[in-house]
C-alpha cells in the first residue's frame, strides 16, 4: 500500500530532512506520525503527495513509484490521496457545498453524480445543514470538517491529515479524530495523521510512528506518546 525503502531526502539548499527511512503501511491502517518541529514530518508528507522526489531510496504509494512519477501524471496520482491541512485551506468565495464540489469538478465527474457524492460526504462529516454557508461563517471545527469532506470526496485510498487539530480546542480535536476513525471504518481509507497532540495519541491509541532528526525513532503498534 505505502512503502518507503531506505529513503533519504536532502533539499537543494543542503538541508537533510530524512535519513534512510524504512516504513510499511497497509491498506486500511490508521497511523499517527509524531515528532518535534524539523523532524521530517512535513518532508514525509511532501514525498507521499509527490510534491518532492526522494534523493535516495524508493517511495511507493498504491504501487506507484513517486520518484519516477512524471510530472504530467501527478494530478492523476493526487486524486488517490486526500490531504487535510492545519489551516483548512478552503476557498473563501465558495460555500461549503461548492468547496467540496470543486474537488469533484476538477476530476470531471458528471454533475449529477458529483452533487450526490457531495451530499453523501457532507452527511458523513455531519455538515448537511451548513451546505450553503461560507467558510467564514463556520467554526474552526466545522471548517476542518469541510476540508475533510473535500479530501475524501474523491474516495482517495489514503487520507493525509497534517496536524488537523492544530488550530482547534481539545473538544473539537476529539471530534475530528472520531470523524477520521469513522472515515477509516466506513470508507476503508488509510489514514495518516501528523500530530503534536500527546493527549490525543494517548487517548485514541493507534499505531504511532515517531520521527526525530529525520530518523524513525519508534514505531509502536499500540500507540502512546514516548
Amino acid at each position: 500500500m505505502l512503502k518507503l525503502k531506505e529513503v533519504s531526502k536532502t533539499y537543494d539548499n543542503g538541508v537533510n530532512a530524512l535519513y534512510n527511512v524504512n516504513l510499511l503501511i497497509e491498506q486500511g491502517e490508521f497511523v499517527y506520525i509524531i515528532g518535534p518541529t524539523g523532524s521530517g514530518k512535513s518532508t514525509l508528507i511532501k514525498l507521499l503527495d509527490a510534491e518532492e522526489k526522494p534523493t535516495k531510496g524508493l517511495v511507493e504509494v498504491t504501487g506507484i513509484n513517486i520518484g519516477k512519477l512524471h510530472s504530467g501524471k501527478i494530478p492523476m496520482y493526487r486524486r488517490n490521496i486526500g490531504v487535510v491541512f492545519q489551516d483548512f485551506r478552503l476557498l473563501e468565495r465558495k460555500t461549503v457545498f461548492e468547496n467540496v464540489y470543486f474537488a469533484l469538478e476538477v476530476t470531471n465527474m458528471p454533475q449529477l453524480k458529483a452533487r450526490q457524492r457531495v451530499r453523501e460526504v457532507l452527511a458523513l462529516v455531519d455538515l448537511s445543514d451548513k451546505a450553503n454557508e461560507f467558510p467564514r461563517n463556520l467554526s474552526g471545527g466545522q471548517q476542518q470538517r469541510t476540508a475533510i469532506a473535500r479530501a475524501i470526496a474523491n474516495r482517495p485510498k489514503i487520507l493525509i491529515a497534517d496536524e488537523p487539530t492544530g488550530n482547534l480546542d481539545p473538544a473539537k480535536s476529539a471530534d475530528i479524530v472520531l470523524l477520521l476513525e469513522k472515515i477509516n471504518h466506513e470508507e476503508k481509507t488509510t489514514i495518516l495523521m501528523v500530530t503534536h497532540d500527546i493527549g490525543m495519541v494517548n487517548t485514541y491509541r493507534k499505531r504511532t510512528i515517531a520521527l526525530q532528526d529525520g530518523h524513525i525513532v519508534a514505531d509502536l503498534t499500540e500507540g502512546g506518546y514516548i
Binding site: D49, A50, E51, E52, S71, G72, I74, P75, M76, Y77, R78, R79, I81, V83, R89, L90, L91, F102, A103, E105, V106, T107, N108, Q111, R150, A151, N154
Partner: protein, 299 residues
C-alpha cells in the same frame, strides 16, 4: 460544456479583480493593433499599387531598320521570350506603332496620319512585359545588347523608385509592429502573473485535489484572450470607419489613376479579422508564458 463555462466565468472574474492591470494590458494591445492596422492598410494597398505599376510598365524594343525578314523577327521574339523574368512579348509593326503613337496624342494625333505608308519613320517593335518590376532594368539591358535591336527603353522608372521607397517604409513599420507586439505580450504576461499570485491559495488547493495543469491553466488563458479582445475593439472600429472615410475622401485613388486603392469591402473585414486574430494570439501567448512558468517550478 459545463467546464468551458466555468473557465470562461473564472476568466472574467480575474479580469474584474485586476481591472487596472487588465486595462493597461488591453491598452497596449490597442496601441499595437492600431499600428498593425495602419501598417496592413498601407502594405496591402502598396502591394496592389506595385502590381498595377508593374503591369502597366513595358519595355519598348525598337528593331533595327535593316531587319525586315519576318523569320528573323520571329527568331528575335523567341530569344526575348527565353530571357528569365519576361512574361510576355508582343510584336507591333510600324503601322501599329504609328497607330498607338497617334492614339497617344488624341485629337491632335491626326496630323501624323501623313506618315502612314512608306514614309513611316517609326520602327517595328516588341512590347515586352516582365513579371516583376524590379527586373525591368536588367531585362531591358539584356535586350538592348541583342543583335538587331536598335534600343530598349521602359518608362515609369520614377514610379518604380517610389514604390521601392514605400516598401522601405513598410519594412520599418514591420520592425516597429513586432516590437510593440512583444511589448503587449510582456504586459499581458505580467498582468496574468499578478492574477496568478493573488490566486496562489486557490492554485495550491487545486493542485492538492488533483487538478490537471490544463484545468488550472484554462481560466488564465481565457483571461488573456479576453484582454486581447478588449484591446482589439477600438482598432477594429478605427480601421473600418477610418478606411471608409479615407477611401471616400480620396475617391478610391491615391494621386493618380495608376494608384488604385483596394475597395472598402471586404477589405476592412479582412483587416479586422487579422487584428482580432492577432489580439487573441497575443493574449493567449502572454498568459501561456506566465502560467506555464508558474506551473513549471511547483510540482
Amino acid at each position: 460544456m459545463h467546464r468551458i463555462t466555468r473557465h470562461i466565468k473564472e476568466g472574467f472574474v480575474g479580469i474584474l479583480r485586476h481591472g487596472a492591470m487588465s486595462l493597461s494590458s488591453a491598452t497596449a494591445v490597442t496601441l499595437t493593433l492600431l499600428l498593425v492596422s495602419m501598417f496592413l492598410l498601407l502594405t496591402l494597398n502598396l502591394q496592389q499599387i506595385t502590381k498595377n505599376v508593374e503591369n502597366s510598365v513595358q519595355i519598348h524594343v525598337k528593331i533595327n531598320e535593316d531587319v525586315t525578314d519576318m523569320n528573323a523577327i520571329l527568331e528575335m521574339e523567341a530569344q526575348i521570350t527565353k530571357i528569365s523574368g519576361v512574361s510576355a512579348v508582343t510584336y507591333s509593326d510600324k503601322n501599329q506603332e504609328l497607330d498607338s503613337f497617334i492614339l497617344a496624342f488624341g485629337e491632335d494625333g491626326k496630323i501624323f496620319e501623313m506618315y502612314r505608308g512608306d514614309s513611316n519613320p517609326l520602327r517595328n517593335a516588341f512590347l515586352v512585359d516582365v513579371a516583376r518590376g524590379a527586373d525591368l532594368p536588367l531585362v531591358s539591358e539584356i535586350i538592348g545588347k541583342m543583335p538587331g535591336v536598335e534600343s530598349a527603353n521602359y518608362g515609369g522608372e520614377n514610379t518604380i523608385k517610389l514604390v521601392s521607397m514605400l516598401n522601405t517604409i513598410r519594412n520599418g513599420g514591420l520592425v516597429l509592429v513586432s516590437f510593440l507586439s512583444f511589448l503587449a505580450i510582456f504586459l499581458i504576461a505580467n498582468t496574468i502573473k499578478i492574477t496568478i499570485y493573488s490566486r496562489n491559495t486557490e492554485i495550491t488547493i487545486m493542485r492538492t485535489i488533483g487538478a490537471s495543469n490544463n484545468f488550472i491553466r484554462a481560466p488564465y488563458l481565457i483571461e488573456g484572450v479576453i484582454i486581447g479582445l478588449l484591446g482589439s475593439i477600438i482598432p477594429v472600429i478605427v480601421t473600418v470607419v477610418g478606411y471608409m472615410y479615407i477611401y471616400k475622401s480620396l475617391g478610391g485613388v491615391l494621386v493618380s489613376n495608376l494608384f488604385t486603392l483596394r475597395p472598402v469591402f471586404p477589405f476592412v473585414y479582412q483587416i479586422s479579422g487579422i487584428l482580432v486574430a492577432i489580439a487573441v494570439l497575443v493574449g493567449l501567448f502572454g498568459s501561456f508564458i506566465s502560467v506555464t512558468r508558474y506551473l513549471r517550478w511547483s510540482r
